[in-house]
Symmetry: C2
Subunit: 747 residues, 2 copies
């Protein structure tokens, strides 16, 4: 267990004040204590697991002491001015918006707001006492590398930043997370899963806006042409300067100010900083170019001619949008429906860092839920309305207030979350993350501030997970309105719309230009037909315009193919009438939950990393069985060929239920071999010992997290481990069925 | 059932002659009759399924008649000269090889051999009587499109050839095929699965040979720059000319000759044809360029500088090779082991055609089995040695003889298949294809002729599947020797080798150049250390050379860093001694089974396509449950809300076992709704009827292929369908447990 959880408590501050602190502390403590093992995975049985190992008395004391500290007025006193500073600018922005102030003024204020928010968050994180913070990232990363969960791609060729290869453990874990996703969303929500091309023609991404807008600011060394991401360059410069004792204090202060605002900077802002502080190319000292937009898509060409420009898709979503008509038809024309896609996305980051957090090639899972824009209710919302989420709303962010726990029902009722469908997906996302093994205490939904959202989005909430890198955005849940379908319709002329039956027929006013066919036919001869067709196509507005012109000027012109045709007064008559409409066409809105699987996987691994109490060298992953790369180990108590028939029987039992296993019959002590399987997150261990040989054959089954064991018949082992692995059965249920086994020596 | 199966019988010709034809015909017929339903999927119970529906009396008669025809001497008489013509060139090539004739002569002969083989095969296929050939590709493709199994990508933007999107049905089926692959290979064979980057630096693909050799011949319109694949261009030209009544018969004859040889043509051959027949650009009539090699990899750039060239991987194999050291370490240094990868490959085909058969973006599954080149036995070979495969050896191909059925044990013993590991994988591949639903009668392994193989391969067998496009290569099983590891070692200086303990220690002769340290130290001072290091690195050959030079000239030079150092006679002494080696380093050989999932999927769909007897409009897919996109349907007998509680109970039972389902409560008749679910290959149908309401609730369960039904409790339905879907239980077993249900009306 590590300490990041306790950060979260800062956000309980307000709830804590004026309550029975000790009882609340106990509740929180005990709920955390079990969260890794129990939540979801053991929730069916409702039994509490017996604690052993990593939750010792020492930790308990440390934690309670800490909780008292957290509620102390001293701490709040320290944060209060920072909170006030945020609120000051939050209020200012509200005021500016009310007054319809110019956008640039608002943008400036937002940059300052973000800077102040960042200061507050940094202070909150810094307030965690050192003695409860013992996540050892170095040990963690060592373990991942050693056991080949993942590692840099093409390392023997010097490696490529932003590209990672998943080894046997990482690959299996990723596949399990994806299978779980497919079950949780596609299967349980009856979604239409598709699998579309990575190669995407330029025209598609032009329509979606990626060709013009999907870019980062970059500066170039004017002599060597070397490129740097502008914000990273400035950040590195500031860090270097601030470490330098020769830098005057005033400059340091100014540079620190730059750092806090950097996230909101545009090209001009960055250029100003570069010029003012005379920043040069870090390798050569050469002059730098002005910041230029660098498109983050990987370009390529399809076919041999060299003129069919294409890109690797930066997101899977567009593949769903361009298939909208087929999917709607597959769904028999009915809305709402959700389509989903699992696949690779590609972003040519200028200088990727932080491992799986920022990759050039990554696995995404995206859902596009198409819904009537006038009715975003969700049929299953009722079932989840009491589900609690930690929400960090835009309002709270602007007030410098912490996130708050709220039921999704209340959040939608209060209009904090824009609609039921959005809210329903937030709950589903939350449940998925918990099923993968994310600590619920280190998770929140943060609302995008109005200025952060894409211009077309109505509301957007990011599921953020707290890791040693800070709060990381892992899932975005956005209401994209009808932007994408509209854009592709415009670009292709294909109407990507749905049709709905009106609850009661609607009376619409129709205005038509009726041609006087004999007259037009006589004058325009073969062209007449085309003119009739054109007149039929005119929009109501065009007919109105035509009518006005004829009334005022006696004639009017219309474009007809390549020609302009002049119509005299007696060529047409204007007809007005009412029409009863029973259906209506509309562009559906899209609610989009979008998952970065690599980031979630990294977070799961970090939240599952453990060190055995009393033996901190013995590190392991307490992974949930359903995501664990390998479900069980098979260990003979000693390397002896007499065990082989029993082990063969065990293997065949496991194969019957498609349970993955790793056999370790090397000569190490049983304890050492257990440690080795724990280190790669194998949740269950089957041991064949001397007792196994009495008929009917039995083995022991060990649960790695608690290190408890039971003894069961070989013929039961396949089904039992299969049920445990799919989390249909809990460990405590297994313990109730089979006798406990106590090891003689302490392995 | 369609007729392609009967093609295969041609290959039984020799077996048929001189036997009891009728009894053999019966055996073959009955084995085919059940093969779709029974093989594997029903093998546990051993029960024969009751036939209904598509295997009617009419077909049986037609088939037996056909079998008599097949054995007729007339048919053999017709094929005999073609067989002889092939053998003539087969013998010629053998003779040329024996005489060590020039390679160009052999190549020419091979072109002719292939042409003759093609004629033989075409004749064999043409001999199938029209009345047993009723696979309707048009209806088949309509169904795939209508139900969105897959369709062209970006169709609303005009589409891109060679790119396909998989809709809900295709996507689910593909995912199931991949899961089955993972179970069948990764899990059951304990492989190390990895997941590597698609983006691949140029250096990697330079080493593997793809940058220089992975290309097709292309010609360009000299004015417009439009590109054509040279062989396709010639083929189209020939077809047009042969249809034209104005073309003289002699020219037609000549062009037909070109067609048969086209496959073996090089650039000069193709250029000659283009010049001789004055072939122009088909659109413009402009002159064409000479054939130029067009590299089939998609190029891109990594990072912003524009100088880091990369490609999208053309195969997943290279990702495994560059990770060899990590994988070997993961496997604790032990050989043999197999690594596997599932992922996308990309090939920029010049002009892709034939749907899923030739894509620009496709899913591959590849295995690299690393093994000691001196010991390619396989521990599990004994278990499969009696397994029969249809083998079309290089020898048979050169003799114009048909493929033959042989046990893999015999094939390896006869050296027909190079080694046990290769043979073991051929069996595993065969079993996998049958598990997906490929008709075993329409499958063969064809050996590459020596000239077809990559220059580094020792032996290669393609699993070919017979479809309406002819025999299609779907899996390649190749012994790649140590080519790739060696290439990457050369390119990176990283020794990609394994180490083995020698059965008895080996005495090796060591020769070393021992520096006279005081002397060298005095002369070269600070550089001395570098010289000592260099001397230590010298290979035995280099030391020998050094010794010779010093003896003959009194001094010698060695390259030392950037400098050349002169060594006098007294600077060094040469030491020779014997050393006992207990281990030995070596480059492992690689056996590579490589699967094209799209092609297999297409073949499965074609082999599973059926029309209901008596109602040929009623088409459906008889998919095996394990690959079926959706496992079952839920149909209320009529749209009535009183059924909703029972349907909810059914849904929750299915969800418990993660069984996918499709509910159809639309108003159509039950029969029509069954037909709709049959059409998308849903194997099982659950119907809620009026009888369902008596406690305990029951439903009927229908098997789509036989249309038989049983009645069972709602509480049993989840487990039953889950077991049927994973093929742990067969339909006949279910029939023995639950009472038969007879529908009143014929749905």
């Amino acid at each position: 267990m590590n300490s990041w959880f306790w950060f979260r408590l800062l956000h309980y501050r307000e709830t804590l004040i004026g309550r029975d602190i000790i009882s609340l502390a106990r509740t929180l403590y005990s709920s955390h204590q079990y969260s890794q093992i129990e939540s979801g995975f053991d929730k069916k049985s409702g039994h509490r697991l017996k604690r052993e190992g990593h939750f010792g008395k020492k930790n308990r004391e440390r934690i309670s002491t800490y909780l008292y500290n957290m509620a102390s007025p001293e701490l709040e006193k320290e944060l209060a001015p920072l909170r006030a500073a945020v609120k000051e600018f939050g209020d200012l922005i509200r005021c500016l918006k009310e007054k319809d102030a110019p956008k640039t003024d608002i943008d400036r204020a937002v940059v300052e707001l973000k800077a102040r928010k960042k200061k507050l968050e940094e202070r909150e994180l810094a307030l965690v006492p050192k003695n409860v913070s013992f996540f050892d990232r170095l040990k963690f990363e060592d373990l991942l590398k050693q056991r080949f969960f993942y590692d840099q791609s093409f390392a023997i060729y010097g490696g490529v930043t932003g590209l990672y290869d998943f080894g046997p453990m990482g690959c299996a874990m990723k596949a399990n997370m994806i299978n779980l996703w497919r079950n949780h969303f596609v299967l349980e929500e009856n979604m239409l899963e598709v699998d579309c091309s990575v190669l995407t023609p330029e025209a598609v991404l032009k329509a979606s806006g990626h060709v013009d807008r999907f870019s980062d600011w970059m500066v170039k060394d004017l002599k060597t042409g070397e490129c740097f991401r502008a914000d990273h360059l400035i950040k590195n410069f500031v860090e270097k300067m601030c470490e330098d004792i020769k830098t005057p204090a005033s400059v340091k202060e100014e540079l620190k100010e730059v750092m806090t605002k950097l996230e909101g900077f545009n090209d001009a802002d960055m250029h100003n900083v570069i010029m003012k502080h005379n920043i040069k190319s870090p390798m050569t000292g050469n002059e730098l170019s002005e910041p230029i937009a660098f498109n983050l898509m990987f370009p390529t060409m399809i076919g041999p001619t060299g003129d069919f420009r294409a890109y690797l898709r930066p997101e899977t979503a567009q593949g769903i949008f361009v298939n909208f008509k087929r999917l709607l038809e597959f769904n028999q024309g009915k809305l709402p429906f959700a389509a989903a896609q699992i696949g690779s996305g590609f972003r040519n980051e200028i200088s990727p860092r932080q491992g799986l957090m920022r990759l050039r090639e990554f696995t995404m899972c995206e859902i596009e839920h198409f819904v009537d824009p006038n009715n975003k209710t969700h049929p299953k919302f009722e079932q989840v309305k009491d589900y609690n989420l930690m929400l960090f709303s835009g309002c709270n962010q602007m007030d410098g207030a912490p996130a708050q726990t709220l039921s999704i029902g209340d959040a939608v009722a209060k209009k904090l979350v824009a609609n039921e469908t959005l809210g329903y997906y937030m709950v589903r996302v939350h449940k998925y993350l918990i099923r993968t093994g994310i600590d619920p205490k280190r998770m929140r939904f943060r609302q995008h501030l109005t200025n952060e959202m894409a211009h077309y989005a109505c509301d957007c909430w990011d599921a953020e997970i707290l890791t040693s890198y800070g709060w990381i955005e892992c899932v975005g849940v956005a209401d994209r309105a009808c932007y994408d379908l509209l854009q592709h319709s415009k670009a292709t002329g294909e109407k990507l719309v749905a049709e709905k039956v009106l609850s009661e027929p609607k009376i619409v006013q129709v205005i038509e230009a009726i041609p006087n066919k004999p007259v037009i036919g006589k004058i325009y001869k073969t062209e007449a037909k085309q003119i009739f067709a054109r007149l039929e196509q005119l929009t109501p507005e065009e007919v109105e315009k035509l009518e006005k012109e004829i009334i005022s000027a006696g004639n009017a012109r219309i474009q007809c193919g390549d020609k302009i045709v002049e119509l005299q007064k007696d060529y047409i008559s204007i007809k007005r009438y009412e029409k009863k409409m029973h259906t209506e066409e509309f562009f559906p809105s899209v609610i989009e939950p979008s998952f970065g699987i690599g980031r979630i996987m990294y977070s799961v691994l970090e939240h599952s990393f453990r060190q055995r109490e009393g033996d901190e060298q013995r590190v392991y992953f307490a992974l949930r069985p359903v995501v664990a790369p390998i479900k069980c180990s098979i260990l003979p108590i000693s390397a002896n060929s007499r065990f082989e028939p029993i082990m063969a029987a065990v293997r065949s039992e496991l194969a019957k239920f498609s349970v993955s296993y790793k056999q370790d019959d090397s000569s190490g002590s049983l304890g050492r071999r257990y440690a080795r399987t724990d280190a790669i997150g194998i949740p269950f261990g089957i041991t064949v010992d001397f007792e196994s040989e009495s008929e009917p054959w039995t083995v022991t089954l060990r649960f790695s997290i608690t290190m408890e064991q039971v003894r069961l018949k070989v013929s039961d082992v396949g089904k039992t481990v299969a049920d445990l692995s799919s989390e249909r059965t809990s460990w405590s249920e297994v313990q109730q069925i089979y006798p406990k086994f106590e090891q003689k020596s302490g392995a």
